[in-house]
């Protein structure tokens, strides 16, 4: 599953569906997280109110992002942070590589960051001969296995402990064991040496606070605290949208994010980092570099529907709630951002040409919208992107244009739906003529002349269709219920 791309989503999804071990793991994980999230939200009496407030705050930031960025940067610079601006992934990696080379850094420890997954930072660093060690347990496993994360919060959700034990035996030479505590403590011991030797720590950022210039990072393991406190130099990579205006706003976001992500009231650690150390004896990084990444984000501001994608706080709740993700997992999306939020963010970051199957990777059931702590209307975004694919199709995405047969069918359907007499007539006709398609009480894969009906073929190639009942509800009503 390592080299899948978004272009082949349909194929990836089918392969994932055939993987029963993966589906079992996903079923356990997503249902457990779903239950925990629900229980955690019910501890608060004002959950809906918090969601609304969080979204209002994010809208406030995004609609004046330039102003809040200037404020954030000025406040952090006043406290000793250095800022670097990256228009795209490559520019971000070049900046970081230069920081690394200028300091002759040999070992780099890294904590989990979706943003650096997005820029493929590790590939860039390793390509330049710099050793970089992922320190989050899940990410460490993924790095040893040379794979990519399959979940925003639990990167190795797709691997069993047996697979992890085999990996540790092979890569770290530990005696075979299935004991999760032993596996965990082995990783702890191995990584301690790396922490002790590291010259630079690289982290992501959960929130940037404009009024104080603070960056806030959340975690459970302690590796982020180690990454940001042991090495002399701390490089933090953040998307330009990650801001909140006021320190007090964190009260809301710290109630929403852990509950939505893992069902915790608070994650074990929150690190608030404001600039560099005050003098040589005080605590704090000697050098703090913040890399601000655009990589397509500023484009998303151009429409209120797409802009809301930037309100995302990366909790992963929509993944766990999504019936599509629950069955295929993260790798099938072929991008670092999987699930419903990935299906809307990836096409906007990477362009629709290579990702046009993603906005269709949803039944539009709305479960993602229900759980989103910042009320992102993901179904509406999916529809927005779908219409962009069909209406504004550039030559590259022309193949996604609906076929003539499909367009004709929808036109006819529209006419029939607007005229009750025509609707009645057409269902009557369909009832008469469906006979030759029905086998064992259902309409299976279309064959013979039925293959000319495009929408029918598209539907029945993957599932059965129920035939139209011999009597409609209105007819039944007239005959039986109304008479009594």
């Amino acid at each position: 599953m390592n080299h899948v791309t978004s272009e082949t989503f349909d194929k990836n999804a089918k392969a994932a569906l055939a993987d029963s071990q993966l589906r079992g793991a996903l079923r356990n994980a997503t249902s457990l997280f779903g239950q925990r999230r629900l229980a955690a939200t019910q501890q608060l009496t004002n959950w809906e109110d918090l969601r609304t407030r969080a979204r209002t705050i994010k809208d406030e930031v995004l609609s004046q992002l330039d102003k809040y960025l200037e404020q954030f940067v000025a406040n952090a610079e006043a406290r000793g942070a250095k800022f670097h601006w990256a228009r795209d992934a490559q520019e971000a990696n070049t900046i970081i590589l230069k920081l690394v080379k200028d300091r002759n850094a040999r070992t780099i420890v890294k904590s989990k960051s979706m943003t650096t997954e997005e820029t493929h930072l590790n590939v860039a660093l390793e390509g330049a001969g710099v050793q970089v060690v992922e320190t989050d347990l899940g990410e460490y496993i993924i790095q040893l296995a040379q794979e990519t994360p399959s979940h925003i919060i639990v990167p190795a959700i797709h691997k069993t402990k047996h697979q992890i034990a085999e990996l540790f035996t092979e890569e770290l030479g530990m005696p075979p064991t299935d004991d999760v505590d032993k596996l965990t403590s082995t990783a702890r011991e191995k990584l301690r040496d790396r922490f002790a030797a590291a010259d630079i720590g690289i982290s992501g950022v959960n929130f940037g606070i404009a009024e104080t210039g603070t960056i806030l990072i959340l975690e459970n393991e302690g590796n982020i605290r180690l990454t940001t406190s042991l090495p002399r130099v701390h490089i933090a990579v953040m998307g330009i949208e990650k801001l909140v205006p006021r320190f007090a706003d964190l009260d809301i976001f710290l109630k929403l994010l852990p509950r939505s992500g893992t069902g915790q009231r608070l994650t074990t650690y929150q690190s608030f980092i404001t600039g560099t150390k005050i003098d040589k004896d005080s605590e704090g990084p000697e050098e703090l570099h913040v890399v601000m990444l655009d990589n397509g984000r500023s484009r998303m501001l151009a429409h209120p529907v797409t802009r809301q994608s930037l309100a995302c706080i990366r909790c992963g709740a929509c993944l766990n709630a999504c019936p599509v993700y629950q069955n295929i997992g993260g790798h099938a999306y072929g991008s670092v951002y999987p699930g419903p939020i990935g299906a809307v963010i990836t096409p906007q970051l990477m362009g629709l040409e290579k990702t046009q199957q993603l906005p269709y990777a949803s039944s539009l059931c709305g479960a993602c919208r229900e759980v989103c702590p910042v009320k992102i209307d993901i179904p509406r975004l999916l529809l927005h992107l779908r219409s962009e694919i069909t209406e504004k199709a550039s030559p590259e995405v022309a193949q996604a244009k609906p076929k003539a047969g499909e367009r004709l069918a929808f036109k006819l359907w529209k006419v029939a739906m607007m005229k009750p007499w025509l609707y009645k007539l057409s269902t009557k006709l369909a009832r008469l003529f469906q006979g030759f398609l029905v086998k064992n009480g259902k309409i299976g894969a279309a064959t013979g002349p039925a293959r000319l009906a495009q929408p029918l073929v598209a539907w029945t190639s993957g599932r059965d269709l129920r035939p139209i009942e011999q009597e409609s509800f209105r007819e039944l009503w007239k005959k039986e219920l109304a008479g009594k």
């Binding site: 330039d66 230069k98 347990l137 990783a187 990584l191 605290r225 009231r265 650690y269 560099t276």
Partner: protein, 231 residues
Amino acid sequence: MESRSNNDAARESIFASIRASLAASARHDAVESELHHASPPPSSVAVTVRSEGLLDLFKESLEAVDGHCIIANDEQEIVDALTGIIKSLQGTRLRGRCIAISDDLEVERLINQADLEIDELAVTPSASDVFRFDVGISCVQAAIAETGTLLLDSSRERHRLVSLVPPVHIAILKESQIVGTLGEALALLRQSEQLTPIATLVTGPSRTADIELTLAIGVHGPQELYVIVWP
């Protein structure tokens, strides 16, 4: 520095793109606000500040996240608690023979009263030394009752590594430092003229569920967290 000018170009270009996008959005925003009436202003959250029962609530919340809470009634009981914890560790794989303490004078005074056999006692060991210590002892600057959380402000006490690297962290907390809610703790942090460079919220020992969602306590941070509360 030529990279400086390159980076200015990137900065300018990102800001230009943000401003262009926001300008382009203006006409859509107008349509949007007509379609969806702006949601009513959210009601303000009632902040309940209470002082009674905070200690009990703190203890309950801390124990719910696998931390230990010991209530001491006077200085002698703190010393007894410290001695008891470390002695009980000395028989386990956590050893408890090398002790690192923060630079809070109170901690040093208390640990010196404990009757213990220890190999080494060091105040705020450096990043290269801290790994060999078995126990870290510090004070904290506040605690949150509703979540069982400790607030560590590294500008008031150097406890960043002492509270993190050794497998056991013992924190000493005054009952009067306990506040009710996260919001109150954030307000405490914010009230100083200049925000501290490093502040950390700690809720229980380090944990992970990255392998098959099985909870494992003590990944990179402490495996055990003890909080001694005194009046």
